[in-house]
Amino acid sequence: MRRPLVRPYPKDWFLRTGAYRLFMLRELTSVCIAGYLVFMLWWLYQLGKGDTESFRSLLSIAKHPVSIGLHTIALIAAAWHSITWFNLTPLVMPMRIGEDRVPNVVIAIAMGYGPWLVVSGFVLWATLH
């Protein structure tokens, strides 16, 4: 007689091994990024008011330790998103030349890290020039 046994799957699977924890960390960067996007909206709104008072309050908030702390967390999360995103790009969009697969690291640099560097440099230059 067949009487298959169904076992429960661990509800805390995402905590169980390093790989699952890293996956969850990657997915949860989106929460930090979403938080920053909300801040960005407020920041643009405040900047758009145009008067010196609003800009001063924006600056004083930006200099507050809480802002520094939250920005640091957001920066780490966003950078972790970038790194994981670029590292996975070659798996999603593999390329070949004839029979040979273009090495993953070449694709990651050409489509990810390279443009990242250019874009970051350009934005910093545009802000500081």
């Binding site: 989106s30 996007l37 960005m40 909206l41 998103h81 970038s82 995103w85 670029f86 970051s120 802000t127």
Partner: protein
């Protein structure tokens, strides 16, 4: 397979992917600018700081870029958060969860559009 559920997930996934690229390329440096460059690396003259920031952000290509970044990154986050919540056991919430996540992202995109147009 007993049953197949038709889905427009391809559409949400394409927004997620485009947003993932935008967020990966632009957000770290933007966070660095608003969090560290503006308060600490642009001198002491508040009015010149304001002038420089406003003239940068109101430059039309920058407005368009900011809109694209915020719009797509919002949907990127919404999609990921939705899937994390599904993995955490909210799969039964189905369409309601989609409305919450993508609705919030759409709201953010509309707000970004309004703010950027009126800058």
């Amino acid at each position: 397979m007993s049953h197949l559920t038709k889905t427009n997930e391809a559409f949400w996934w394409s927004l997620f992917s485009a947003g993932g690229v935008m967020a990966a390329l632009f957000l770290p440096v933007m966070i660095f600018v608003t969090g560290f460059v503006l308060p600490f690396m642009m001198g002491e003259d508040v009015e010149s700081q304001q002038d420089r920031m406003v003239s940068l952000v109101t430059f039309w290509p920058v407005r368009l870029a900011l809109f694209g970044i915020i719009f797509l990154s919002s949907f990127h986050c919404a999609h990921r958060i939705r899937h994390v919540l599904m993995d955490f056991g909210l799969r039964w919430a189905g369409v309601a969860l989609m409305i919450c996540c993508y609705g919030a992202a759409a709201g953010g995109a509309v707000a970004a559009g309004l703010i950027l147009v009126r800058l």
